[in-house]
Amino acid sequence: MWFAALLVYLFLYLPLTVVVIYSFNDSRLNAEWVGFTWRWYEVLFQDEEMIQAAVNSILIAVGASFIATLLGTMAGIAIHRYKLKALPFLVITPVAMPEILLGVSLLLFFIQVLHLTLGLLSVLVAHITFCVGFVAIVVRARLAGMDESIFEAARDLGATPWQTFRLVTLPLILPAVIAGALMSFTLSIDDFVITFFTAGVGVSTLPLQIYSMIKIAVTPEVNAVSTLLMLVTLGMILLAARFDKTVLRGQE
Protein backbone atom coordinates (compact mmCIF):
# COMPACT_ATOMS: atom_id res chain seq x y z
CA MET A 1 0.00 0.00 0.00
CA TRP A 2 2.61 2.53 1.04
CA PHE A 3 4.46 1.73 -2.14
CA ALA A 4 1.43 2.62 -4.24
CA ALA A 5 1.06 5.84 -2.28
CA LEU A 6 4.72 6.61 -2.90
CA LEU A 7 4.26 6.08 -6.65
CA VAL A 8 1.30 8.42 -6.70
CA TYR A 9 3.22 11.10 -4.87
CA LEU A 10 6.21 10.67 -7.20
CA PHE A 11 3.95 10.90 -10.20
CA LEU A 12 2.33 14.07 -8.85
CA TYR A 13 5.32 15.89 -7.56
CA LEU A 14 8.26 14.84 -9.73
CA PRO A 15 7.29 17.11 -12.68
CA LEU A 16 6.72 20.01 -10.29
CA THR A 17 10.08 19.42 -8.66
CA VAL A 18 11.80 19.36 -12.04
CA VAL A 19 10.28 22.73 -12.93
CA VAL A 20 11.45 24.21 -9.64
CA ILE A 21 14.98 22.83 -10.02
CA TYR A 22 15.42 24.02 -13.60
CA SER A 23 14.27 27.50 -12.68
CA PHE A 24 17.59 27.80 -10.86
CA ASN A 25 19.67 26.22 -13.63
CA ASP A 26 22.32 28.44 -15.11
CA SER A 27 21.58 27.37 -18.67
CA ARG A 28 19.21 28.38 -21.46
CA LEU A 29 18.28 24.77 -22.07
CA ASN A 30 16.28 22.46 -19.89
CA ALA A 31 18.80 19.75 -20.53
CA GLU A 32 21.51 19.31 -17.98
CA TRP A 33 22.32 20.90 -14.66
CA VAL A 34 25.00 23.54 -15.07
CA GLY A 35 24.97 25.53 -11.86
CA PHE A 36 22.83 27.58 -9.52
CA THR A 37 21.60 31.04 -10.50
CA TRP A 38 18.94 33.65 -9.68
CA ARG A 39 19.30 34.93 -13.25
CA TRP A 40 15.91 33.81 -14.55
CA TYR A 41 14.12 35.49 -11.72
CA GLU A 42 15.92 38.74 -12.58
CA VAL A 43 14.90 38.36 -16.19
CA LEU A 44 11.37 37.71 -15.04
CA PHE A 45 11.16 40.91 -13.04
CA GLN A 46 12.37 42.95 -16.01
CA ASP A 47 9.90 41.43 -18.45
CA GLU A 48 7.23 44.12 -18.80
CA GLU A 49 4.66 41.89 -20.45
CA MET A 50 5.09 39.40 -17.65
CA ILE A 51 4.72 42.12 -15.00
CA GLN A 52 1.54 43.39 -16.68
CA ALA A 53 0.13 39.84 -16.80
CA ALA A 54 0.94 39.38 -13.12
CA VAL A 55 -0.77 42.65 -12.19
CA ASN A 56 -3.83 41.60 -14.18
CA SER A 57 -3.86 38.20 -12.54
CA ILE A 58 -3.66 39.67 -9.07
CA LEU A 59 -6.30 42.32 -9.77
CA ILE A 60 -8.69 39.70 -11.12
CA ALA A 61 -7.95 37.23 -8.34
CA VAL A 62 -8.48 39.83 -5.61
CA GLY A 63 -11.64 41.21 -7.21
CA ALA A 64 -13.10 37.81 -8.08
CA SER A 65 -12.41 36.27 -4.68
CA PHE A 66 -13.82 39.31 -2.87
CA ILE A 67 -17.07 39.41 -4.81
CA ALA A 68 -17.40 35.62 -5.00
CA THR A 69 -16.94 35.44 -1.22
CA LEU A 70 -19.71 37.96 -0.61
CA LEU A 71 -22.12 36.26 -3.00
CA GLY A 72 -21.06 32.73 -2.11
CA THR A 73 -21.48 33.33 1.61
CA MET A 74 -24.97 34.65 1.08
CA ALA A 75 -25.77 31.71 -1.20
CA GLY A 76 -24.37 29.21 1.31
CA ILE A 77 -26.47 30.68 4.11
CA ALA A 78 -29.60 30.81 1.97
CA ILE A 79 -29.18 27.21 0.77
CA HIS A 80 -28.80 26.08 4.35
CA ARG A 81 -31.47 28.28 5.91
CA TYR A 82 -34.25 27.65 3.42
CA LYS A 83 -33.27 24.05 2.66
CA LEU A 84 -33.31 25.03 -1.01
CA LYS A 85 -33.38 22.18 -3.47
CA ALA A 86 -32.69 23.89 -6.80
CA LEU A 87 -30.30 26.64 -5.73
CA PRO A 88 -27.52 24.31 -4.52
CA PHE A 89 -27.65 22.58 -7.85
CA LEU A 90 -27.49 25.86 -9.74
CA VAL A 91 -24.67 27.29 -7.66
CA ILE A 92 -22.56 24.18 -7.55
CA THR A 93 -22.92 23.12 -11.18
CA PRO A 94 -20.27 25.58 -12.47
CA VAL A 95 -17.82 23.99 -10.05
CA ALA A 96 -18.36 20.52 -11.48
CA MET A 97 -18.91 21.46 -15.13
CA PRO A 98 -16.01 20.91 -17.57
CA GLU A 99 -14.15 24.18 -17.71
CA ILE A 100 -14.11 24.24 -21.46
CA LEU A 101 -17.90 24.19 -21.54
CA LEU A 102 -18.13 27.00 -19.05
CA GLY A 103 -15.50 28.95 -20.99
CA VAL A 104 -17.26 28.59 -24.32
CA SER A 105 -20.70 29.38 -22.94
CA LEU A 106 -19.45 32.44 -21.08
CA LEU A 107 -17.73 33.61 -24.26
CA LEU A 108 -20.95 33.27 -26.24
CA PHE A 109 -22.91 34.93 -23.45
CA PHE A 110 -20.60 37.93 -23.23
CA ILE A 111 -20.35 38.47 -26.97
CA GLN A 112 -23.75 37.51 -28.29
CA VAL A 113 -26.05 38.34 -25.41
CA LEU A 114 -24.32 41.18 -23.60
CA HIS A 115 -22.37 42.53 -26.61
CA LEU A 116 -19.50 43.08 -24.23
CA THR A 117 -15.99 43.82 -25.39
CA LEU A 118 -13.85 41.08 -23.92
CA GLY A 119 -11.29 42.28 -21.43
CA LEU A 120 -10.51 42.43 -17.73
CA LEU A 121 -14.17 42.84 -16.81
CA SER A 122 -15.35 39.75 -18.68
CA VAL A 123 -12.55 37.69 -17.12
CA LEU A 124 -13.52 39.00 -13.70
CA VAL A 125 -17.18 38.07 -14.16
CA ALA A 126 -16.21 34.63 -15.48
CA HIS A 127 -13.98 33.96 -12.48
CA ILE A 128 -16.68 35.07 -10.05
CA THR A 129 -19.01 32.59 -11.72
CA PHE A 130 -16.91 29.55 -10.93
CA CYS A 131 -15.68 30.75 -7.50
CA VAL A 132 -19.13 31.46 -6.02
CA GLY A 133 -19.99 27.76 -5.90
CA PHE A 134 -16.81 26.93 -4.01
CA VAL A 135 -17.46 29.51 -1.33
CA ALA A 136 -21.10 28.43 -1.04
CA ILE A 137 -20.09 24.78 -0.59
CA VAL A 138 -17.58 25.54 2.15
CA VAL A 139 -19.93 27.90 4.01
CA ARG A 140 -22.81 25.50 3.78
CA ALA A 141 -20.71 22.59 5.03
CA ARG A 142 -19.76 24.68 8.04
CA LEU A 143 -23.39 25.59 8.79
CA ALA A 144 -24.57 22.01 8.38
CA GLY A 145 -22.41 20.95 11.31
CA MET A 146 -23.97 23.48 13.66
CA ASP A 147 -26.83 23.27 16.13
CA GLU A 148 -29.74 25.15 14.57
CA SER A 149 -31.10 26.23 17.90
CA ILE A 150 -28.24 28.65 18.60
CA PHE A 151 -29.62 31.02 15.99
CA GLU A 152 -33.08 30.79 17.54
CA ALA A 153 -31.50 31.24 20.96
CA ALA A 154 -29.96 34.52 19.81
CA ARG A 155 -33.34 35.83 18.64
CA ASP A 156 -34.94 34.53 21.81
CA LEU A 157 -32.44 36.44 23.94
CA GLY A 158 -33.20 39.73 22.24
CA ALA A 159 -31.06 39.89 19.08
CA THR A 160 -32.63 41.22 15.88
CA PRO A 161 -32.06 39.14 12.72
CA TRP A 162 -29.18 41.46 11.75
CA GLN A 163 -27.61 41.25 15.23
CA THR A 164 -27.97 37.48 15.11
CA PHE A 165 -26.05 37.44 11.84
CA ARG A 166 -23.35 39.81 13.06
CA LEU A 167 -22.85 38.39 16.56
CA VAL A 168 -23.52 34.70 16.08
CA THR A 169 -23.72 33.49 12.47
CA LEU A 170 -20.79 35.46 11.03
CA PRO A 171 -18.25 34.68 13.77
CA LEU A 172 -19.15 31.00 13.48
CA ILE A 173 -18.83 30.78 9.70
CA LEU A 174 -15.86 33.16 9.45
CA PRO A 175 -13.25 30.38 9.13
CA ALA A 176 -15.23 28.96 6.20
CA VAL A 177 -15.61 32.40 4.64
CA ILE A 178 -11.86 33.08 4.85
CA ALA A 179 -11.06 29.62 3.54
CA GLY A 180 -13.51 30.16 0.69
CA ALA A 181 -11.89 33.50 -0.16
CA LEU A 182 -8.38 31.99 -0.22
CA MET A 183 -9.55 29.07 -2.34
CA SER A 184 -11.21 31.46 -4.76
CA PHE A 185 -8.00 33.43 -5.01
CA THR A 186 -5.98 30.35 -5.97
CA LEU A 187 -8.63 29.11 -8.39
CA SER A 188 -8.70 32.48 -10.08
CA ILE A 189 -4.97 33.09 -10.29
CA ASP A 190 -4.35 29.58 -11.72
CA ASP A 191 -7.17 29.52 -14.18
CA PHE A 192 -6.27 29.05 -17.80
CA VAL A 193 -9.16 27.58 -19.77
CA ILE A 194 -11.93 29.96 -18.85
CA THR A 195 -9.59 32.95 -18.94
CA PHE A 196 -8.42 31.90 -22.38
CA PHE A 197 -11.96 32.07 -23.73
CA THR A 198 -13.05 35.25 -22.00
CA ALA A 199 -9.94 37.44 -22.10
CA GLY A 200 -10.08 38.45 -25.74
CA VAL A 201 -7.04 39.97 -27.39
CA GLY A 202 -4.68 42.30 -25.64
CA VAL A 203 -5.42 41.19 -22.08
CA SER A 204 -3.12 38.66 -20.54
CA THR A 205 -2.84 36.90 -17.21
CA LEU A 206 0.01 34.82 -15.86
CA PRO A 207 -1.28 31.44 -17.09
CA LEU A 208 -2.03 32.94 -20.53
CA GLN A 209 1.41 34.51 -20.62
CA ILE A 210 3.10 31.24 -19.72
CA TYR A 211 1.13 29.47 -22.41
CA SER A 212 2.10 31.97 -25.07
CA MET A 213 5.76 31.62 -24.08
CA ILE A 214 5.89 27.83 -24.19
CA LYS A 215 4.39 27.85 -27.64
CA ILE A 216 7.88 28.90 -28.64
CA ALA A 217 9.98 27.04 -26.09
CA VAL A 218 9.98 26.11 -22.44
CA THR A 219 12.43 28.72 -21.29
CA PRO A 220 13.93 28.87 -17.82
CA GLU A 221 11.92 32.05 -17.37
CA VAL A 222 8.75 29.97 -17.65
CA ASN A 223 10.14 27.67 -15.00
CA ALA A 224 10.76 30.64 -12.76
CA VAL A 225 7.28 32.14 -13.10
CA SER A 226 5.72 28.69 -12.67
CA THR A 227 7.69 28.21 -9.48
CA LEU A 228 6.45 31.51 -8.09
CA LEU A 229 2.85 30.72 -9.03
CA MET A 230 3.18 27.34 -7.39
CA LEU A 231 4.47 28.92 -4.20
CA VAL A 232 1.59 31.39 -4.01
CA THR A 233 -1.00 28.67 -4.66
CA LEU A 234 0.48 26.28 -2.16
CA GLY A 235 0.65 29.01 0.49
CA MET A 236 -2.97 29.97 -0.06
CA ILE A 237 -4.23 26.40 0.11
CA LEU A 238 -2.32 25.67 3.30
CA LEU A 239 -3.63 28.90 4.79
CA ALA A 240 -7.18 28.02 3.73
CA ALA A 241 -6.88 24.58 5.29
CA ARG A 242 -5.81 26.17 8.54
CA PHE A 243 -9.09 28.06 8.64
CA ASP A 244 -11.38 25.29 7.55
CA LYS A 245 -10.43 21.65 7.17
CA THR A 246 -13.24 20.90 4.73
CA VAL A 247 -11.32 22.57 1.88
CA LEU A 248 -8.77 19.75 1.88
CA ARG A 249 -11.52 17.17 1.87
CA GLY A 250 -12.61 18.44 -1.52
CA GLN A 251 -16.15 19.11 -2.49
CA GLU A 252 -17.92 16.68 -0.15
Binding site: D147, E152, A154, R155, D156, L157, G158, Q163
Partner: protein, 361 residues
Amino acid sequence: MALLELRNLTRRFGNLTAIDNVSLSVEAGEFFTLLGPSGCGKTTILRMIAGFDLPDGGEILLDGKDIAATPPEKRPLHTVFQSYALFPHLSVADNVAFPLRMSKVSEQETRQRVKEMLETVHLADKSDAFPHELSGGQKQRVALARGLVNKPRLLLLDEPLGALDHKLREEMQIELINLQRNVGVTFVFVTHSQPEALALSHRIAVMNEGRVEQMDSPANIYSRPSNRFVADFIGDINMMNAQIDVVDGMQLRLSVAGLGAIVAPAHIETSTGQAGAFAIRPEQVVIGAPDEHAELANRFSGTLRDFLYVGDVTTYKVEVTNGTLIQALLPNAAPGKARFFELGDKVTVAWSSESGMFLHE
Protein backbone atom coordinates in the same frame (compact mmCIF):
# COMPACT_ATOMS: atom_id res chain seq x y z
CA MET B 1 -55.11 38.35 35.11
CA ALA B 2 -53.09 35.34 34.06
CA LEU B 3 -49.55 36.04 32.90
CA LEU B 4 -49.83 33.72 29.93
CA GLU B 5 -52.98 32.53 28.28
CA LEU B 6 -53.44 30.24 25.31
CA ARG B 7 -56.87 30.38 23.71
CA ASN B 8 -57.94 27.64 21.32
CA LEU B 9 -54.41 27.31 20.01
CA THR B 10 -54.18 25.16 16.89
CA ARG B 11 -51.24 24.19 14.69
CA ARG B 12 -51.31 21.90 11.69
CA PHE B 13 -48.45 20.35 9.75
CA GLY B 14 -50.01 19.08 6.53
CA ASN B 15 -52.63 16.54 7.55
CA LEU B 16 -51.38 16.31 11.11
CA THR B 17 -53.04 18.49 13.73
CA ALA B 18 -50.06 18.82 16.05
CA ILE B 19 -51.86 21.18 18.43
CA ASP B 20 -55.59 20.74 18.66
CA ASN B 21 -57.54 23.58 20.23
CA VAL B 22 -55.43 23.99 23.36
CA SER B 23 -56.52 26.49 25.99
CA LEU B 24 -54.66 27.06 29.22
CA SER B 25 -53.48 29.83 31.47
CA VAL B 26 -50.38 30.25 33.61
CA GLU B 27 -50.33 32.53 36.65
CA ALA B 28 -47.39 34.76 37.52
CA GLY B 29 -44.91 32.96 39.79
CA GLU B 30 -46.16 29.54 38.84
CA PHE B 31 -44.12 26.45 37.95
CA PHE B 32 -46.30 25.10 35.18
CA THR B 33 -45.50 21.84 33.40
CA LEU B 34 -46.53 20.46 30.02
CA LEU B 35 -46.31 16.69 30.36
CA GLY B 36 -46.94 14.15 27.66
CA PRO B 37 -45.48 11.35 25.56
CA SER B 38 -43.03 12.01 22.75
CA GLY B 39 -44.64 13.71 19.77
CA CYS B 40 -47.69 15.03 21.63
CA GLY B 41 -46.85 18.63 20.73
CA LYS B 42 -45.03 20.06 23.76
CA THR B 43 -42.16 21.61 21.82
CA THR B 44 -44.56 22.95 19.22
CA ILE B 45 -46.45 24.85 21.93
CA LEU B 46 -43.24 26.31 23.37
CA ARG B 47 -42.05 27.37 19.92
CA MET B 48 -45.29 29.22 19.32
CA ILE B 49 -45.08 30.95 22.70
CA ALA B 50 -41.47 31.96 21.98
CA GLY B 51 -42.37 33.14 18.48
CA PHE B 52 -40.40 30.68 16.34
CA ASP B 53 -43.57 29.17 14.97
CA LEU B 54 -46.96 30.70 14.23
CA PRO B 55 -50.31 29.17 15.19
CA ASP B 56 -52.87 28.33 12.51
CA GLY B 57 -55.62 29.33 14.89
CA GLY B 58 -56.19 30.72 18.34
CA GLU B 59 -54.40 33.34 20.38
CA ILE B 60 -51.40 33.66 22.67
CA LEU B 61 -51.89 36.37 25.28
CA LEU B 62 -49.15 37.73 27.50
CA ASP B 63 -50.44 40.05 30.23
CA GLY B 64 -53.70 40.01 28.33
CA LYS B 65 -52.16 41.27 25.07
CA ASP B 66 -52.06 39.19 21.90
CA ILE B 67 -48.42 38.69 20.92
CA ALA B 68 -49.01 37.10 17.52
CA ALA B 69 -47.32 39.98 15.71
CA THR B 70 -44.41 40.34 18.14
CA PRO B 71 -41.08 38.95 16.84
CA PRO B 72 -39.18 36.58 19.19
CA GLU B 73 -36.63 39.22 20.26
CA LYS B 74 -39.40 41.54 21.47
CA ARG B 75 -41.20 38.97 23.61
CA PRO B 76 -40.41 39.37 27.32
CA LEU B 77 -39.58 35.70 27.73
CA HIS B 78 -36.59 33.45 27.26
CA THR B 79 -36.19 29.80 26.33
CA VAL B 80 -33.86 27.14 27.69
CA PHE B 81 -33.35 24.73 24.80
CA GLN B 82 -33.00 21.00 25.21
CA SER B 83 -29.68 21.14 23.36
CA TYR B 84 -28.62 24.08 25.61
CA ALA B 85 -27.89 26.17 22.47
CA LEU B 86 -24.90 27.90 24.06
CA PHE B 87 -22.92 30.13 21.70
CA PRO B 88 -19.78 28.06 21.04
CA HIS B 89 -17.60 31.08 20.22
CA LEU B 90 -18.39 32.95 23.43
CA SER B 91 -17.10 32.34 26.95
CA VAL B 92 -19.47 31.40 29.75
CA ALA B 93 -19.53 35.00 30.96
CA ASP B 94 -20.21 36.35 27.46
CA ASN B 95 -22.95 33.78 26.91
CA VAL B 96 -24.68 34.91 30.08
CA ALA B 97 -24.08 38.58 29.22
CA PHE B 98 -25.67 38.20 25.78
CA PRO B 99 -29.28 39.06 26.70
CA LEU B 100 -28.11 41.99 28.84
CA ARG B 101 -26.04 43.40 25.99
CA MET B 102 -28.98 43.00 23.63
CA SER B 103 -31.13 45.10 25.93
CA LYS B 104 -28.37 47.70 26.25
CA VAL B 105 -27.67 47.31 29.94
CA SER B 106 -24.50 49.25 30.83
CA GLU B 107 -21.27 47.26 30.65
CA GLN B 108 -20.60 47.75 34.36
CA GLU B 109 -24.02 46.53 35.42
CA THR B 110 -23.78 43.66 32.93
CA ARG B 111 -20.55 42.46 34.53
CA GLN B 112 -22.08 42.74 38.00
CA ARG B 113 -25.22 40.83 37.11
CA VAL B 114 -23.38 38.12 35.20
CA LYS B 115 -21.16 37.61 38.22
CA GLU B 116 -24.13 37.32 40.58
CA MET B 117 -26.01 35.00 38.24
CA LEU B 118 -23.00 32.70 37.84
CA GLU B 119 -22.65 32.56 41.60
CA THR B 120 -26.32 31.60 41.89
CA VAL B 121 -25.78 28.62 39.59
CA HIS B 122 -22.42 27.75 41.23
CA LEU B 123 -20.32 28.49 38.17
CA ALA B 124 -18.39 31.57 39.27
CA ASP B 125 -15.08 29.80 38.64
CA LYS B 126 -16.02 28.88 35.06
CA SER B 127 -16.77 32.36 33.75
CA ASP B 128 -13.83 32.35 31.32
CA ALA B 129 -14.36 28.80 30.10
CA PHE B 130 -15.86 28.03 26.70
CA PRO B 131 -18.91 25.80 26.28
CA HIS B 132 -16.93 22.87 24.88
CA GLU B 133 -14.90 22.79 28.09
CA LEU B 134 -17.97 22.21 30.28
CA SER B 135 -19.76 19.05 31.41
CA GLY B 136 -23.40 18.47 30.56
CA GLY B 137 -24.62 19.66 33.94
CA GLN B 138 -22.47 22.79 33.74
CA LYS B 139 -23.74 23.63 30.26
CA GLN B 140 -27.23 23.19 31.58
CA ARG B 141 -26.58 25.68 34.36
CA VAL B 142 -25.07 28.20 31.94
CA ALA B 143 -28.19 27.90 29.79
CA LEU B 144 -30.35 28.51 32.87
CA ALA B 145 -28.23 31.46 33.97
CA ARG B 146 -28.43 32.96 30.48
CA GLY B 147 -32.20 32.54 30.44
CA LEU B 148 -32.70 34.07 33.87
CA VAL B 149 -30.11 36.88 34.03
CA ASN B 150 -32.32 39.45 32.33
CA LYS B 151 -35.24 38.60 34.64
CA PRO B 152 -37.74 37.64 31.93
CA ARG B 153 -41.43 37.54 32.81
CA LEU B 154 -41.52 33.95 31.68
CA LEU B 155 -38.94 31.21 31.21
CA LEU B 156 -39.73 28.35 28.83
CA LEU B 157 -37.77 25.16 29.48
CA ASP B 158 -37.86 22.37 26.89
CA GLU B 159 -36.83 19.11 28.57
CA PRO B 160 -33.84 20.87 30.08
CA LEU B 161 -32.82 17.85 32.15
CA GLY B 162 -33.29 15.27 29.42
CA ALA B 163 -29.61 14.79 28.65
CA LEU B 164 -28.41 14.43 32.23
CA ASP B 165 -27.72 11.21 34.10
CA HIS B 166 -30.01 10.14 36.89
CA LYS B 167 -28.09 11.59 39.83
CA LEU B 168 -27.32 14.92 38.20
CA ARG B 169 -30.92 15.09 37.11
CA GLU B 170 -32.14 14.86 40.68
CA GLU B 171 -29.64 17.49 41.82
CA MET B 172 -30.71 19.82 39.03
CA GLN B 173 -34.38 19.28 39.88
CA ILE B 174 -33.76 20.58 43.37
CA GLU B 175 -31.73 23.48 42.00
CA LEU B 176 -34.53 24.31 39.55
CA ILE B 177 -37.11 24.45 42.33
CA ASN B 178 -34.88 26.68 44.45
CA LEU B 179 -33.98 28.89 41.52
CA GLN B 180 -37.58 29.35 40.52
CA ARG B 181 -38.51 30.21 44.11
CA ASN B 182 -35.62 32.62 44.63
CA VAL B 183 -35.68 34.43 41.30
CA GLY B 184 -39.47 34.54 41.19
CA VAL B 185 -39.67 33.92 37.45
CA THR B 186 -42.67 32.05 36.04
CA PHE B 187 -41.65 28.70 34.53
CA VAL B 188 -43.33 26.81 31.72
CA PHE B 189 -41.54 23.49 31.82
CA VAL B 190 -41.74 20.68 29.30
CA THR B 191 -41.01 17.06 30.09
CA HIS B 192 -42.13 13.56 29.18
CA SER B 193 -41.02 12.24 32.57
CA GLN B 194 -43.98 11.99 34.93
CA PRO B 195 -41.96 11.67 38.19
CA GLU B 196 -40.16 14.87 37.22
CA ALA B 197 -43.43 16.66 36.53
CA LEU B 198 -44.93 15.49 39.81
CA ALA B 199 -41.84 16.51 41.77
CA LEU B 200 -41.38 20.00 40.33
CA SER B 201 -44.69 21.54 39.34
CA HIS B 202 -47.36 23.63 40.92
CA ARG B 203 -49.66 22.62 38.10
CA ILE B 204 -49.43 20.10 35.28
CA ALA B 205 -51.15 19.95 31.91
CA VAL B 206 -51.13 16.35 30.69
CA MET B 207 -51.09 16.28 26.89
CA ASN B 208 -51.87 13.61 24.35
CA GLU B 209 -51.89 13.90 20.57
CA GLY B 210 -52.04 17.67 20.60
CA ARG B 211 -54.79 18.00 23.21
CA VAL B 212 -54.73 18.78 26.91
CA GLU B 213 -56.25 15.77 28.70
CA GLN B 214 -56.14 17.19 32.21
CA MET B 215 -54.83 20.27 33.97
CA ASP B 216 -54.44 20.15 37.74
CA SER B 217 -52.09 19.97 40.73
CA PRO B 218 -49.66 17.01 40.83
CA ALA B 219 -51.61 15.42 43.72
CA ASN B 220 -54.90 15.62 41.86
CA ILE B 221 -53.40 14.43 38.60
CA TYR B 222 -52.05 11.40 40.43
CA SER B 223 -54.98 10.56 42.64
CA ARG B 224 -57.85 11.85 40.49
CA PRO B 225 -56.92 11.27 36.87
CA SER B 226 -59.83 12.39 34.75
CA ASN B 227 -59.59 9.66 32.12
CA ARG B 228 -57.90 6.42 31.16
CA PHE B 229 -55.04 8.10 29.30
CA VAL B 230 -53.99 10.23 32.27
CA ALA B 231 -54.37 7.36 34.74
CA ASP B 232 -52.23 5.14 32.56
CA PHE B 233 -49.60 7.75 31.75
CA ILE B 234 -49.02 8.91 35.33
CA GLY B 235 -47.48 6.21 37.47
CA ASP B 236 -48.26 2.49 37.57
CA ILE B 237 -51.88 1.50 37.74
CA ASN B 238 -54.10 -1.59 37.53
CA MET B 239 -56.78 -0.90 34.96
CA MET B 240 -59.66 -3.12 33.85
CA ASN B 241 -62.80 -2.59 31.84
CA ALA B 242 -65.81 -2.15 34.11
CA GLN B 243 -69.48 -1.34 34.10
CA ILE B 244 -71.58 0.42 36.76
CA ASP B 245 -74.26 -1.83 38.21
CA VAL B 246 -75.52 0.42 40.98
CA VAL B 247 -74.85 4.01 42.03
CA ASP B 248 -75.38 4.02 45.77
CA GLY B 249 -74.71 7.50 47.14
CA MET B 250 -70.95 7.85 47.41
CA GLN B 251 -70.41 4.22 46.47
CA LEU B 252 -70.45 2.39 43.19
CA ARG B 253 -71.07 -1.26 42.63
CA LEU B 254 -69.11 -2.34 39.58
CA SER B 255 -68.80 -5.40 37.42
CA VAL B 256 -65.13 -5.59 36.51
CA ALA B 257 -63.94 -7.67 33.58
CA GLY B 258 -61.85 -10.54 34.87
CA LEU B 259 -62.65 -9.84 38.53
CA GLY B 260 -66.38 -9.74 39.13
CA ALA B 261 -68.31 -7.51 41.50
CA ILE B 262 -66.51 -4.88 43.54
CA VAL B 263 -67.29 -1.74 45.54
CA ALA B 264 -65.57 1.52 44.60
CA PRO B 265 -65.85 5.17 45.63
CA ALA B 266 -67.81 7.58 43.40
CA HIS B 267 -65.58 10.54 42.60
CA ILE B 268 -67.04 11.65 39.33
CA GLU B 269 -70.43 12.14 37.79
CA THR B 270 -71.74 8.64 37.03
CA SER B 271 -74.95 6.82 36.36
CA THR B 272 -76.07 3.21 36.35
CA GLY B 273 -75.17 1.20 33.27
CA GLN B 274 -72.21 3.33 32.19
CA ALA B 275 -69.19 1.52 30.83
CA GLY B 276 -65.61 2.56 31.50
CA ALA B 277 -62.67 1.31 33.49
CA PHE B 278 -61.83 0.55 37.08
CA ALA B 279 -58.34 1.71 38.06
CA ILE B 280 -56.38 1.28 41.25
CA ARG B 281 -52.77 2.13 42.12
CA PRO B 282 -50.56 -0.81 43.18
CA GLU B 283 -49.79 0.87 46.52
CA GLN B 284 -53.51 0.79 47.38
CA VAL B 285 -53.61 -2.98 46.98
CA VAL B 286 -52.38 -5.19 49.85
CA ILE B 287 -51.19 -8.76 49.58
CA GLY B 288 -51.43 -11.42 52.27
CA ALA B 289 -51.89 -15.08 53.11
CA PRO B 290 -55.17 -16.69 51.93
CA ASP B 291 -56.92 -16.01 55.24
CA GLU B 292 -55.74 -12.40 55.71
CA HIS B 293 -57.41 -9.02 55.06
CA ALA B 294 -60.90 -10.32 55.70
CA GLU B 295 -61.88 -6.79 56.82
CA LEU B 296 -61.46 -5.32 53.31
CA ALA B 297 -64.48 -5.05 51.02
CA ASN B 298 -62.74 -6.12 47.83
CA ARG B 299 -60.83 -9.34 48.25
CA PHE B 300 -59.59 -11.87 45.69
CA SER B 301 -57.51 -14.97 46.02
CA GLY B 302 -54.87 -15.82 43.49
CA THR B 303 -51.39 -17.11 42.79
CA LEU B 304 -48.16 -15.11 42.96
CA ARG B 305 -46.77 -15.07 39.41
CA ASP B 306 -43.99 -12.49 39.56
CA PHE B 307 -42.36 -9.96 41.81
CA LEU B 308 -39.93 -7.12 41.39
CA TYR B 309 -37.74 -6.22 44.34
CA VAL B 310 -36.24 -2.72 44.04
CA GLY B 311 -34.86 -2.23 47.55
CA ASP B 312 -37.33 0.01 49.31
CA VAL B 313 -40.44 -1.64 47.88
CA THR B 314 -41.49 -4.83 46.16
CA THR B 315 -44.09 -5.04 43.41
CA TYR B 316 -46.04 -8.33 43.36
CA LYS B 317 -48.00 -9.59 40.37
CA VAL B 318 -50.84 -11.84 41.39
CA GLU B 319 -52.96 -13.86 38.97
CA VAL B 320 -56.48 -13.94 40.35
CA THR B 321 -58.48 -17.05 39.58
CA ASN B 322 -59.50 -16.25 36.05
CA GLY B 323 -56.22 -15.03 34.50
CA THR B 324 -56.33 -11.33 35.37
CA LEU B 325 -53.10 -9.92 36.84
CA ILE B 326 -53.28 -7.51 39.80
CA GLN B 327 -50.22 -5.57 40.94
CA ALA B 328 -49.64 -4.83 44.60
CA LEU B 329 -46.83 -2.68 45.90
CA LEU B 330 -45.55 -3.15 49.47
CA PRO B 331 -42.82 -1.30 51.35
CA ASN B 332 -40.10 -3.59 52.62
CA ALA B 333 -39.42 -1.52 55.72
CA ALA B 334 -42.21 -2.38 58.20
CA PRO B 335 -40.58 -4.87 60.61
CA GLY B 336 -42.60 -8.00 61.28
CA LYS B 337 -45.31 -6.72 58.97
CA ALA B 338 -43.45 -7.34 55.74
CA ARG B 339 -44.14 -10.79 54.37
CA PHE B 340 -42.30 -12.35 51.58
CA PHE B 341 -43.97 -14.77 49.25
CA GLU B 342 -42.57 -17.29 46.85
CA LEU B 343 -43.60 -17.65 43.24
CA GLY B 344 -46.61 -19.96 43.00
CA ASP B 345 -47.81 -19.24 46.57
CA LYS B 346 -51.55 -18.97 47.15
CA VAL B 347 -52.20 -15.39 48.27
CA THR B 348 -54.93 -12.83 48.77
CA VAL B 349 -55.04 -9.36 47.19
CA ALA B 350 -57.43 -6.85 48.69
CA TRP B 351 -58.34 -3.17 48.86
CA SER B 352 -60.86 -1.06 50.68
CA SER B 353 -64.10 0.24 49.24
CA GLU B 354 -62.56 3.74 49.45
CA SER B 355 -59.70 2.90 47.09
CA GLY B 356 -59.53 2.94 43.31
CA MET B 357 -61.72 4.83 40.91
CA PHE B 358 -64.09 4.53 38.03
CA LEU B 359 -62.99 6.24 34.81
CA HIS B 360 -65.02 7.12 31.79
CA GLU B 361 -63.82 5.92 28.40
